[in-house]
């Protein structure tokens, strides 16, 4: 096994990793939609999906089937190339953007060491930005191609919005780059490692060994700009349903629409991961490395959760629920127990655990905002981007560089 | 403060005055302008006096002229013309005369010009003139002297044409300028020749080189380098000092205000020629031919101008011709080698001629601008001071003892009499001129002051001039009485102090003592007095009684029209020139060639543009293609060495 890996590893391992990643991410997207609907529903004092499966857990599946089976009408007078090309582009770029994100430290399986992610590029941050920069074309082309005034307006808005907020997005990262002195996301994360735990993350920026400074300003700027980049509320003007029906994807249906949908959520995940990596120390545990007990936290969380789900599931109304939920609970419990028992796997799982925990938190924040905030007006959007966000991020760059210079000597 | 060490102050002061008045005077009241003009001139006069005093001390210490280079002006190759100022006894005389008389005339002008337009302009010009004149006098090399020379010419032009609205005035100014150009041309040629000969234009160098014993005196009738150089310089002098045949501008120059006539065209500028000749006496003494020419021209001018002066009716014209004639005397003196006498006469003439002009000005002032003597008469009662001053001047110029001109003119005639080859003739003509002089001067007196009035009482209100005018008159009258007394002892066997004073410059030349000479001189001076008396008597016979302007015919007509010299020049010189300029230079050269060339270029450009214009279709794509063409050409040039084997199948 190991010698095969040593021989053809460079060919086999990436394929496997890509397969896993796509699978995981698509599922994640699907259940992200579920989560979103649920959370918003509860924010709005509704039940949300609860018909298909227990607590609507099978709703994403139903949606997927619906998307596949739907008819795909094509409006007259569309610009065919653009119309067909746009959704593919969107999805493709969204997925590609995940390829440079390290979900954890390098791992060694069967004596074959590889990075916890698809590609390990030394300018991965730039690559990520490049991909997100191209992301606008999907929307713009969709808006243009579908020969519909609402779509066109949506496309226009999104392109303008993208250009405006990309600057702020890039500039807000410069502080982190100055601290890390490297474009590689992996190194950026490793730079944040320290015996202070979460205090040495970039957002706090307390670290003894190298010049560092709190990136709280950059963090806020980045988050706002990132929301704008992903066209989420309160910056979802390209698809403002109250003004533009559905914006750029008004004319899309079935799989094409699905692609846009998946693309959006994937890019949400990508951006959240980037956010985590840049400011919240990526896969690093918030506790100092010396606190080894905290390594059992996953199982400490999983086992009770599983048990509760099992117990709660047995009292569910429908038979299906009474079958699925306990099963799920059992899975959780066993997983936690397994982790508790095999320390190697436990160590292996630490990084991803924290990473996805943080990403999940960020995603929840996303959804929370959507449930809370009203939409910007267009001129407000532009004013905010150019007159507030950009100057603030520039100021952050200046401040950070000054402080680091001072700390260095 | 040692003025001598920074002598530049003396000329600088008038320049400053001129600049200040010229720039700001327009806004200022007459009082300020006066104070500036008079202040600058007066201070420079005082400085001059102080400088002279210091110089005399300096001379006592080390017996040589005082020269100091202040800064280099032109330095080219081995040629150097610096701003060098020189002070020796000759300069001293000129300096005192210029500053002193100039100052008096400034004072006079304040009264005379009181009611004129462009008051500040007048004084600005006058100060500028003082500046240039002082430069001329103090210059230590020919180039700087030429600067002053041209400068005074300019100022004379400006001041003659002071009433530039009056066409005759403007024309007179132009005439003076142009005639002077001829002389200056000669002067420049002379300078070039001197530089070619002596490789320098500094007085000291040139004269030292010329005074060397090995430099032979070019014998009579032989035209060597020195002779030609001297003659050329003398041409310049002729132009500047209004000698035959270039005297024509001076009478017309009387168009200018009377103080100008007094200062520039009687006392100072016109004598610059004499000064220049005297300054380069070393050269002249080495060129007897030139000397002889000078003597003849001077003598001829003296007589010629006097004859014209006989019949003029304009009071200033009379004085103008008298000036020309007196200048002739000075040149006669220089010509016969009596430079000292020439300078002596220059000084005295400066006094009494300034006096006469100023008095004439006072008369004109009194008559309210009337200049024709036939419309005057019987003024002696009305303006007594002016009358007395003018009488002083007349007696002085006529040459009665003990007035100034008696001594100066006397010494000139004596020198002429003693000079070899034709001295007697020169003396005779000079004597005749003296007779004429006293005649026309007393004619002027009688016509103006004696007899009954020939003007309309109600039109003209005759009044005496203010003190600012009569004051200078009196001073000058005193000077023209006493100005000659330096030479007084010479009559009684004593020595001529003036010649003595100048002897460091000219050498103890013509103080030829000896009993014979003594008696001869007495005899000659008695003759001169008799001649003057003759003139006086004739004038009294003709004009003391009531006279009327008679019709002029015959000789009188000829004289009255100045021998038709102007007409002659007009016919011989001016008209051909006009014709040439009009028909050749203007119509052919200018209109044809120059304008043709310019317009041709313009038309050519227009024509080319007309054809090329069509490439400018306004269509952007065409422009783009043109850009491509240009890029191809450039690349072709750049890549040529790489490409041409490729294009012509060459092998790499």
């Amino acid at each position: 096994m190991s010698e095969i890996l040593a021989k053809y590893g460079f060919l086999i391992v990436p394929i496997i990793k890509v397969a896993i990643l796509v699978l995981v991410v698509l599922t994640l997207d699907a259940y992200l939609t579920w989560l979103e609907r649920k959370v918003i529903a509860h924010i709005q004092a509704r039940w949300g999906p609860h018909r298909v499966g227990p607590h609507g857990l099978l709703q994403p599946l139903a949606d997927g089937i619906k998307f596949i089976l739907k008819e795909d009408p094509m409006p007259t007078g569309v610009d065919k190339k653009a119309y067909f090309f746009a959704p593919f582009l969107t999805l493709m770029l969204a997925l590609t953007s995940l390829s440079v994100i390290p979900f954890g430290p390098d791992i060694t399986i069967f004596g074959y060491t590889t990075n916890f992610g698809i590609a390990d590029v030394n300018i991965s941050l730039l690559v990520l930005f490049a991909i997100t920069a191209l992301g606008v074309y999907g929307i713009a082309l969709a808006g243009w191609g579908s020969n519909n005034k609402y779509s066109l307006l949506g496309g226009l808005r999104s392109s303008a919005q993208m250009i405006s907020y990309e600057l702020a997005l890039t500039l807000s990262v410069v502080g982190v780059l100055l601290i890390a002195g490297d474009f590689s996301l992996k190194h950026i994360v490793e730079k944040q490692a320290g015996d202070l735990g979460l205090l040495s993350w970039n957002i706090i920026g307390m670290s003894k060994d190298h010049g560092s400074f709190t990136q709280i300003i950059g963090c806020i700027c980045f988050f706002i700009a990132a929301i704008a980049e992903t066209n989420r509320v309160p910056f979802d003007l390209p698809e403002a349903e109250s003004e533009l029906v559905a914006g750029f994807h008004t004319e899309y249906a079935s799989m094409k629409f699905a692609m846009f949908f998946i693309g959006e959520y994937t890019s949400m995940i990508a951006v959240s991961s980037l956010f985590t990596i840049l400011f919240f120390g990526g896969w690093l545990s918030p506790f100092p490395a010396s606190w080894t007990l905290t390594h059992y936290l996953p199982s400490v969380i999983l086992v009770p959760l599983g048990l509760w789900v099992f117990y709660d599931g047995t009292r569910y109304e429908t038979i299906l629920g009474r079958i699925i939920l306990p099963g799920l609970g059992a899975v959780f419990t066993l997983l936690g127990a397994g982790l508790f028992l095999s320390s190697t796997v436990n160590e292996l799982i630490q990084g991803p655990f924290w990473f996805f925990a943080k990403v999940g938190a960020v995603l929840f924040f996303y959804i929370w905002m959507r449930g809370t905030l009203p939409r910007f007006r267009y001129d407000q959007l532009m004013d905010f981007g150019w007159k507030f966000l950009l100057p603030v991020s520039i100021a952050n760059v200046v401040l950070t560089s000054a402080v680091i210079m001072w700390r260095m000597k | 403060m040692p003025i001598l060490e920074n002598l530049w102050i003396i000329p600088l002061l008038p320049l400053l005055g001129s600049a200040i008045n010229g720039l700001f005077g327009a806004k200022w009241s007459k009082t300020i302008v006066n104070s500036v003009a008079l202040g600058s001139t007066g201070v420079s006069f005082l400085c001059a006096v102080e400088a002279v005093r210091e110089f005399l001390g300096y001379y006592e210490a080390n017996h040589k002229a005082w020269v100091k280079p202040f800064f280099d002006w032109i330095v080219a190759g081995n040629f150097r013309a610096g701003f060098d100022l020189q002070l020796d006894h000759l300069t001293v005389v000129m300096l005192l005369v210029v500053t002193g008389v100039g100052f008096l005339i400034h004072i006079y002008s304040t009264g005379y010009m009181a009611h004129e337009e462009g008051y500040y302009r007048f004084f600005s010009y006058l100060n500028l003139f003082m500046f240039f004149m002082l430069i001329l006098v103090l210059a230590a090399n020919y180039v700087l002297l030429f600067v002053g020379w041209e400068g005074v010419g300019l100022c004379s032009y400006l001041l003659i044409g002071f009433y530039f609205l009056k066409k005759s005035a403007a024309d007179a100014g132009k005439k003076a300028f142009i005639v002077n150009r001829i002389g200056d041309f000669g002067f420049m040629l002379g300078m070039f020749l001197l530089f070619r000969t002596f490789h320098s234009l500094d007085f000291s160098t040139v004269f030292a080189a010329a005074a060397k014993p090995e430099v032979a005196v070019e014998p009579m009738g032989q035209f060597g380098v020195l002779t030609i150089a001297c003659l050329l310089l003398f041409v310049g002098a002729i132009g500047k000092s209004a000698q035959l045949p270039l005297y024509v501008w001076l009478p017309d120059a009387m168009e200018g205000p009377t103080p100008v006539s007094a200062l520039i065209h009687a006392a100072t500028m016109v004598t610059a020629g004499v000064y220049m000749v005297a300054r380069s006496h070393v050269l002249f003494t080495h060129a007897p031919t030139a000397m002889y020419v000078v003597a003849i021209v001077g003598c001829a001018t003296a007589f010629f101008a006097a004859t014209i002066g006989l019949v003029q009716s304009d009071i200033k014209k009379v004085l103008a011709y008298s000036t020309v004639s007196q200048l002739g005397y000075m040149f006669l003196a220089c010509g016969v080698g009596a430079f000292g006498a020439g300078i002596f006469h220059l000084m005295t003439h400066a006094f009494f001629k300034a006096l006469l002009f100023l008095s004439a000005g006072s008369v004109i002032h009194a008559m309210g601008g009337e200049q024709d003597m036939w419309n005057m008469g019987g003024l002696s009662k009305k303006i007594r001071t002016t009358f007395l001053c003018m009488l002083f001047g007349t007696i002085a110029i006529a040459g009665f003892p003990p007035f100034a001109a008696f001594f100066s003119k006397d010494s000139i005639l004596f020198a002429a009499y003693n000079s070899e080859n034709g001295g007697k003739v020169l003396y005779g003509v000079g004597l005749l001129a003296a007779v004429l002089t006293s005649f026309y001067m007393f004619r002027l007196i009688w016509l103006t002051f004696a007899g009954e009035k020939r003007y309309d009482e109600h039109k003209v209100h005759v009044h005496e001039s203010p003190l600012s005018m009569t004051g200078p008159l009196m001073i000058l009258a005193f000077l023209s009485l006493t100005g000659g007394w330096f030479a007084l002892p010479a009559l009684f066997g004593g020595k001529d102090y003036f010649a003595e004073f100048l002897s460091p410059v000219f050498g103890a030349g013509e103080a030829a003592g000896g009993e014979a000479a003594q008696s001869l001189e007495h005899m000659l001076s008695i003759v001169a007095v008799l001649a003057a008396t003759a003139g006086l008597v004739v004038a009294w016979r003709m004009y003391s009684k009531t006279v009327t302007r008679g019709t002029s015919e015959g000789v009188h007509k000829l004289l009255y029209n100045k021998y038709y010299v102007d007409e002659l020049y007009a016919a011989v010189v001016v008209r051909p020139l006009m014709w040439l300029s009009t028909n050749v230079l203007w119509k052919v050269v200018d209109a044809g060639m120059i304008d043709g060339a310019v317009n041709g270029v313009a038309d050519g450009a227009a024509a080319v543009g007309d054809t090329v214009r069509h490439t400018q279709s306004g269509n952007t794509r065409s422009y783009a293609v043109w850009v491509v063409v240009g890029a191809m050409v450039l690349l072709g040039i750049v890549f040529w060495p790489i490409l041409h084997p490729a294009l012509f199948g060459g092998v790499r």
């Binding site: - | 279709s617 306004g618 952007t620 794509r621 783009a624």
Partner: protein, 100 residues
């Protein structure tokens, strides 16, 4: 290992195509794109040279070119918008007032 001349030839071809587009197209925006294409061709040559010579200077030049191109795009497109507003057309051949 790709020979440098390959890159250079490619950049030459791209440049030629850019020029072709520059003279061939009628739409102002497309012509502007042609200019960008030429700039890109030049950039390629720059990078190729800097690779061949082993000096990063070429890449610095490329950075400058990109920056200038960005600025140019901003101003140029502003001009284009104005032109389109005034002339009501994007066809350069309708913008022909620049003549006698």
């Amino acid at each position: 290992m790709v020979p440098t001349s390959y890159y250079l030839v490619l950049s030459a071809i791209l440049f030629g195509l850019g020029v072709l587009a520059f003279v061939f197209k009628r739409n102002i925006i497309t012509i502007f794109m042609a200019i960008e294409l030429m700039l890109n061709a030049v950039n390629l040559a720059f990078v190729a040279f800097s690779q061949a010579l082993g000096k990063p200077d070429g890449e610095v030049f490329v950075l400058f070119v990109i920056v200038v191109a960005a600025a140019e795009a901003a101003v140029g497109l502003g001009i284009i918008i104005l032109t389109a507003r005034n002339r009501r057309s994007l066809n350069v051949e309708h913008v022909d007032l620049l003549k006698l």
